[in-house]
């Protein structure tokens, strides 16, 4: 926790205690908060997903987080590794983007520790809450239990990527029980990382196909353009760079070898172009595969 941050305790009878949480079953008795507690009464949407993720999940989570934040919607998530963290990061991309992190562990301590930086940022610009006091030792029930707060705070819950046993499926289920709208981001039917979300869609969740839909559902007329203008990006590229960039746009997840044989360029040249494109931010690499770098 940052030095100047203080923990605010909200009991159920406090005027600042969020109304949305009062109406859910097994509502928390009190909340410990660090940051801007006015966010609790604003428009909130939960963006959750599994820790293990693909580059697709990462891109989508950041895109949704950013889009919602740009439209003044607070992004609620669990600050776990993977999708949760990307949703927070996306929400913090616009200058005045707001986000709430709901911890399953003691307030004031980052879990996982590698998210310390992210938590500091959220405390400063958003809000971190937990139903557990600073001296809470941590336990395995803390994580599933905080899911009801994540979904309870939010009018809409969006599941980005979830495997078969992902905790975010619990969040989706609770959100349904709480009478909230559940969106799931569809994925390839042969991707193990999207089995959970695809099953949610089969079982009646709304497929998230256009992010603007969510924004409208929240009663906000969407504004702001997400994504980079391809044409302006391409105008800064040489001929071969454009050719390779278009290959990547056509099919994400190609290997440098595949790009080499499809473009007909020698490997030494392809290597150079790929790094130049990466430096320009047009592409990104993950596990030796090439993806679009912008969202």
């Amino acid at each position: 926790m940052g030095e100047n941050m203080k923990i605010i305790r909200l009991d159920r009878d406090s005027p600042d205690f969020p109304v949305s949480l009062l109406e859910i079953p097994r509502a928390p008795k009190r909340l410990y908060c660090v940051g801007d507690i006015s966010l609790l009464s604003g428009r909130c949407a939960a963006v959750v997903g599994s820790r293990r993720h693909t580059i697709y999940g990462k891109q989508v989570a950041m895109m949704i987080g950013r889009m919602l934040a740009e439209n003044g919607i607070t992004v609620v998530s669990g600050m776990a590794k993977g999708i949760d963290s990307f949703a927070h990061q996306g929400a913090l991309m616009p200058e005045n983007g707001k986000t709430i992190a709901v911890l399953g562990t003691a307030i004031g301590k980052a879990y996982p520790a590698s998210n310390q930086k992210l938590m500091d940022e959220i405390e400063k610009r958003g809000l971190v809450i937990s139903e557990y006091p600073p001296d809470f030792p941590g336990s395995s029930y803390g994580f599933p239990a905080r899911n009801r707060i994540i979904s309870g705070l939010s009018q809409v819950t969006i599941v980005v990527e979830a495997g078969l046993n992902s905790g975010s499926l619990i969040t989706a289920q609770i959100a349904g029980e709480q009478g909230r709208t559940v969106y799931a981001v569809p994925g390839n039917i042969n991707s193990q990382f999207s089995i959970g979300t695809n099953l949610l869609i089969r079982d009646g969740a709304s497929p998230l196909v256009v992010i603007e839909d969510v924004v409208r559902e929240m009663g906000v007329e969407p504004s702001g353009i997400v994504g980079t203008d391809d044409e302006s990006l391409e105008s800064s590229m040489g001929e071969d760079e454009v050719a390779i960039y278009r290959l990547v746009r056509g099919e994400q997840g190609l290997t440098p070898d595949q790009i080499g044989s499809r473009s007909g360029l020698p490997v030494s040249k392809v290597n150079g172009i790929l790094t130049v494109l990466e430096i320009k931010g047009a592409i990104t690499t993950s596990s030796g595969r090439i993806f679009l770098g912008h969202i």
Binding site: R51, D257, V267, T275, I279, R289
Partner: protein, 511 residues
């Protein structure tokens, strides 16, 4: 009468001169060997007694004392049989002792007096030569190994009797009658492979190019990929594109193999060695060691390739021990108050799976590891050793469709010839430019001195630090690789395309 015979022993991988003094005096029949002999040498008494009598000589019925000096050096090896036996004959006035003092000899004797092959011949022969001894007797089975340092004065003998006869002829001023054994071409145990080359590998242009860069600049290389993507196959082929061994390199490596007793029937190491120790190997096995130090895998891979498959499975402490030898190109062991130096100029090739189960990021198989598993596994990889490896490549399995298509219309990718040409060009250009060390072996100052760039390239380098999260250390690695690529392109300065290509082989945390 006292007789001096020159011989030697292997101390580490160095030959050391040993002089065997024999004295036969009156007294009760007795045979004593002094001068720090090992058990093997003490046991040789019985062999020598039998060999001498069975060769038709009279074994002295007197007191025989053999002393070997320098006394502080431990004498081990059955090759001392021949010098001791000849010493006894000399002390018994059967041979001209003046001649004996000018020659050197080594060899094991069997009970019938014939010589048998021994290990460590070449280091001893080289040492005797350095000591100014021109004529050296060796068992005929060791002849072709002994002549690796030059043919002059090496005399192959088949038995004690023949050794005696040649010495007689020499003392009579006659030209000795020497029978040179036939040369047999046997390749080193474990190294005999049918012709392999990178042409056997279809596609995989990225890693093939990376291998060529590694070979051209002597960079360490790390391949990360799912099981079955061809990491081992590629590692085995690396030495086929390295330049052929020079005479000096052959001699160095043969000396190590000879001292380690690994030459077997072979006479010399003529091909760059390829060593691939298993991940369960211990410290002494990899780095060398023991009470009387023997070379480890890193020294056996001297002038060749050391391949560590499944790098994260190796014990981190042992891998950490690779640092110094990889930097100094030799390793020093201290035993019994003395330093033993073993050369270790190897090219390091490592392979690793991307995660514990091996299928993280694989297109066809599911990874069953948890996020924590993955982090733990990759943490093992990102340790100190990775700092020593310049080139990092993520590999992909060749899909079956691509493979079967390859069988029909053969998408060869880069040919072995082309790779060899790149390596040769880079080596030639570097020497012409007056740089002795390849970029993979240059220290930072030398590298910076050889890394001129134009403005555009310099700008790219600076941008890369920000947008690709380079650190000073990884930046130096990229520069090293870029220098090699520029050498391959025969360019004095590092150009834009060299640096941008080098960046794709940079170490990255995410596999």
């Amino acid at each position: 009468m006292i007789c001096h015979v020159n011989t030697g022993v292997c101390d580490g991988i160095q030959g050391k001169l040993v002089v065997v003094e024999t004295d036969v005096t009156r007294g009760l029949p007795n045979f004593t060997i002094v001068g720090h002999p090992s058990q093997i040498v003490s046991e040789s008494k019985e062999r020598i007694r039998a060999a001498v009598s069975n060769s038709g000589f009279m074994y002295p019925r007197n007191r025989v004392v053999v002393n070997m000096w320098p006394a502080e050096l431990r004498k081990t090896g059955s090759h001392l049989d021949l010098p001791i036996a000849m010493g006894i004959l000399g002390a018994g006035s059967c041979v001209d002792t003046e001649i004996m003092e000018k020659v050197g000899m080594l060899g094991e004797l069997s009970l019938d007096g014939s010589t048998t092959r021994v290990d460590g011949v070449l280091p001893i022969v080289m040492c005797l030569r350095e000591q100014g001894i021109r004529t050296i007797f060796v068992p005929d089975e060791n002849y072709w190994e002994a002549v690796q340092g030059g043919r002059q004065g090496i005399i192959p003998v088949r038995s004690l009797r023949e050794c005696f006869a040649v010495l007689q002829e020499m003392s009579n001023g006659e030209k000795p009658d020497i029978c040179i054994p036939e040369k047999r071409n046997i390749s080193l145990a474990g190294q005999s492979e049918k012709e392999i080359s990178f042409d056997d590998v279809r596609g995989q242009s990225l890693i093939k190019r990376g291998m060529a860069i590694a070979a051209a600049g002597r960079h360490g290389i790390l391949m990360v990929g799912s099981p079955g993507c061809g990491k081992t196959m590629l590692a085995r082929r690396l030495r086929t594109i390295l330049p052929p061994m020079t005479r000096k390199e052959m001699l160095e490596t043969t000396m190590i193999y000879s001292a380690a007793g690994l030459l077997g029937e072979t006479s010399a190491v003529t091909q760059r060695p390829y060593r691939s120790p298993h991940s369960t190997i211990g410290r002494a096995g990899l780095l060398g060691g023991g009470a009387y130090p023997v070379p480890g895998e890193i020294s056996l891979a001297h002038n060749g390739v050391l391949f560590l498959d499944e790098l994260p499975e190796f014990s981190p402490g042992i891998i950490d021990g690779l640092r110094t030898p990889a930097e100094d190109l030799e390793i020093t062991h201290f035993r019994q108050g003395r330093a033993y130096r073993f050369p270790s100029d190897f090219m390091l090739v490592c392979a690793a799976n991307p995660c514990k189960c091996g299928y993280l990021g694989d297109k066809t198989r599911e990874c069953t590891c948890s996020q924590a598993d993955i982090e733990r596994y990759q943490k093992r990889l990102s340790g100190a050793m990775l700092d020593r490896i310049d080139i990092h490549v993520r590999m992909e399995r060749v899909e079956y469709s691509q493979f079967s298509r390859g069988l029909v219309d053969i998408e060869q990718g880069i040919s072995s010839e082309e790779m060899k040409r790149w390596v040769d060009t880079a080596g030639r250009f570097r020497i012409d430019a007056g740089r002795n060390r390849p970029p993979g072996r240059m220290d930072d100052d030398d590298l910076l001195g050889a890394a001129e760039m134009d403005d555009e390239t310099d700008k790219l380098f600076h941008k890369a630090f920000d947008s690709l999260a380079l650190t000073p250390r990884t930046g130096m690695k990229v520069l090293r690789i870029a220098r090699t690529i520029a050498d391959m392109d025969e360019s004095r300065e590092i150009r834009f395309q060299h640096l941008s290509e080098a960046l794709i082989y940079r170490p990255s945390e995410v596999f």
